[in-house]
């Protein structure tokens, strides 16, 4: 580990320093109903580090459920456009779950692909992400299968690994390095390597993931759009889109113009999901994805075939939120397992 350590009291002092200097600090906070949400904090005590997955993923901090793109108003015979700022004040996320941070990194690819999304990258550039290694995985987690793991560093600028008092600090990016050097006095000596290795191994101890390697699945999916495996794959899916709402990588959005009075309005983008029938409904009434099986196939293909083909990485970080959120009991690892079995079967494997 190329890093340092920080005690809990020094971390609290660091949060005070940051908040005092005008940096917005966001961390998992316990809501009255007991669940966690990423929310602004004024002090470290408000944050719950390594408490498990917040309700909504970290993507909501970079692609909010709704955001204005611009406002328009009638100005005499003309229309005036009021743009929104695309630069943001500095912000630090403390206690990001590694699978959440990885999701943000995955989304950088599509957000900067054929068009550079100014709002996404405006927030990305203003934000430093400090992940905390996760010791709260359960039977629905499969971050290992997606190549990340409970102490994964993808998307993080710094990774904190819990020690007895405080954390071992791993520097991942220059942005993380900058934070560390700007507040060098708060950080202590490098940690004991053997202790860190032991604790890292401890995070994986006894973990059995619900799905094995995803490589065969990804390889098989491309040529099997019409495979019988898809028939009835989404029997229990309500098409409600709860999975997409909680997903750290689902990023589809809808754009709407909302009038706000007679002479002005705002164009906004809002989260959308391919799991609803209306997502692909044409004006003619034709729907190319007319059944839920086809819509669910789209979800699987986008995450495990289309995105890897185009960007070289999965659009899934194995957080398992979709399985936990699903009212119909759809379980992505279960589906991936079924596809893997199909891919391994002699007859099923043929394209």
């Amino acid at each position: 580990m190329n890093g340092r350590t920080i005690s809990r009291s020094q971390l609290a002092a660091l949060v005070d320093d940051l908040v005092g200097s005008g940096v917005g600090v966001v961390a998992p906070v316990r809501a009255p109903d007991g669940r966690l949400d990423y929310r602004p904090v004024a002090r470290l005590e408000e944050a719950v580090l390594d408490g498990g997955l917040p309700r909504l993923s970290l993507k909501s901090l970079f692609l909010p459920p709704t955001e204005p793109l611009f406002s328009f108003r009638k100005s005499g015979p003309d229309v005036a456009i009021d743009s929104v700022p695309t630069t943001f004040p500095p912000r630090l996320v403390l206690g990001a779950v590694p699978c959440d941070a990885a999701g943000v990194a995955a989304l950088d690819k599509v957000m900067g692909w054929d068009y550079r999304d100014e709002l996404w990258f405006g927030r990305r550039e203003a934000t430093t992400i400090v992940s905390v290694a996760c010791g709260k995985g359960d039977a629905s987690c499969f971050c290992g299968a997606t190549g990340n793991g409970p102490a994964g560093t993808r998307g993080a600028d710094l990774l904190l690994l819990p020690l007895d008092d405080g954390f071992a600090v791993e520097v991942v990016t220059p942005k993380g390095e900058a934070l560390l050097s700007a507040h060098a006095g708060r950080f202590g000596e490098p940690p004991n390597e053997a202790d860190v290795a032991r604790r890292r191994a401890g995070l994986l101890e006894g973990r059995v993931e619900p799905v094995g390697s995803l490589a065969p699945v990804t390889a098989w999916l491309g040529g099997h759009f019409d495979d019988p495996v898809w028939d009835g794959i989404a029997l229990r899916c309500h098409g409600c889109g709860a999975c997409a709402s909680v997903c750290p990588t689902c990023h589809c959005f809808d754009i709407v113009d909302e009038p706000e009075g007679v002479t002005r309005g705002t164009r906004r983008r809002n989260w959308d999901t391919c799991q609803t029938a209306r997502f692909t409904l044409h004006a003619s009434g034709h729907n190319p994805r007319s059944v839920q099986d086809a819509r669910y196939r789209q979800r699987v293909l986008h995450k495990f075939s289309i995105y890897p083909e185009r960007f070289g990485e999965l659009l899934c970080t194995g957080c398992g939120r979709c399985s936990r959120a699903c009212p119909g009991g759809m379980d992505l690892p279960d589906v991936l397992g079924a596809i893997a079995a199909r891919a391994a079967a002699p007859a099923g494997g043929a394209a």
């Binding site: 109903d33 669940r35 949400d37 309700r55 909504l56 459920p65 709704t66 039977a139 629905s140 619900p210 009835g232 989404a234 029997l235 229990r236 899916c237 309500h238 098409g239 409600c240 889109g241 709860a242 997409a244 709402s245 909680v246 809808d254 709407v256 909302e258 906004r268 809002n270 989260w271 999901t273 609803t276 029938a277 209306r278 007319s290 059944v291 839920q292 099986d293 399985s323 936990r324 959120a325 009212p327 119909g328 009991g329 379980d331 690892p333 279960d334």
Partner: protein
């Protein structure tokens, strides 16, 4: 359990139905099952984890289920009210579905939980339940278990909210509804939200802003609650489906009480009882009208 499995197997074997909607063991507790053969029928279960209402799968929107053919559906007493609701509102012909009732002693809130049924784990709607044995059923299976444990947490929460000032209630709901992301999972999981085209999806005119800003979240949640007033069957699916845990059950229950206190209507599995929003009495109370 054997009784349920045997019945499902028989209905499939004699061709009465093509599929039996029930529950089975899944990767995370129990999950909805769609048994089309004896092997699958032999895997059906019913126990206190079976909290899901399966009646939404009878919706014409579930084309993936529809194409399996004629269905039998396993219902708890609360779920039977959803079947009755669909029949009452002419969305389902009674003879088009075989209803298998199960006698129920309450279910837990989270079907994935390994915890046993207890006052701590019981679903909000269960304590005090008066429909533990569905009347609207072609077959009823199982012994009647003991009454659900615990007391209604919702009654306490509603009483608490009603005791507060309007401003405090306003702050409470603005906070709760502030989490809404307008995914409409509450609508899709609801057995009674069967509209071909929801008013919230209409754009000409756009009655309900589609954005999850506070204005849109408020308009949608008022609309959802109101469109289910006097129609909600209290199966809890909306609240269970909500990915951000908005206590939708409180709104539903509040309006169910209005239906009961003002119009003498309680959700029932008797489809012949008229809906309070499809009927009226000339002497309905109108103390709020000048």
């Amino acid at each position: 359990m054997k009784e349920l499995r045997d019945l499902a197997t028989k209905l499939l074997a004699e061709g009465t139905v093509n599929v039996v909607l029930g529950w089975e063991e899944g990767p995370r507790g129990v999950r909805p099952a769609f048994a089309t053969d004896a092997a699958a029928a032999g895997r059906l279960v019913f126990d206190p984890r079976c909290t899901q209402n399966l009646v939404p799968y009878l919706s014409p929107r579930r084309t993936q289920v529809k194409k399996l053919g004629k269905a039998a559906v396993v219902v708890k007493g609360c779920d039977a009210r959803a079947v009755a609701g669909l029949v009452r509102e002419t969305q389902l012909a009674r003879e088009d579905v075989v209803v298998i009732g199960v006698r129920c002693g309450g279910v837990i809130a989270d079907p994935a939980s390994p915890e046993p049924l207890s006052p701590a784990t019981v679903a909000d709607r269960c304590p005090g339940c008066n429909s533990r044995e569905p009347k609207l059923a072609d077959h009823t299976v199982g012994e009647l278990p003991a009454a659900p444990p615990g007391e209604s947490r919702r009654d306490v929460r509603i009483a608490d909210l009603e005791a507060r000032t309007a401003d405090e209630r306003w702050a409470f709901w603005q906070d709760e509804l502030g989490r809404c992301v307008r995914c409409h999972a509450c609508r899709e999981a609801c057995p009674m939200c069967f509209c071909e085209r929801c008013v919230a999806d209409k754009t000409q005119p756009q009655w309900v802003d589609s954005s999850p800003h506070p204005r849109g979240a408020f308009a949608w949640n008022v609309t959802r609650a109101l469109h289910l007033a006097g129609r909600c069957v209290d199966c809890g699916e909306c609240e269970r489906a909500c990915p951000v845990d908005i206590p939708l059950g409180l709104l539903n229950l509040k309006l169910a009480r209005v239906a009961s206190e003002r119009f003498g209507y309680t959700a029932t599995d008797d489809p012949a009882v008229p809906s309070p929003v499809g009927s009226f009495q000339k002497d309905d109370a109108q103390e709020f009208i000048l």
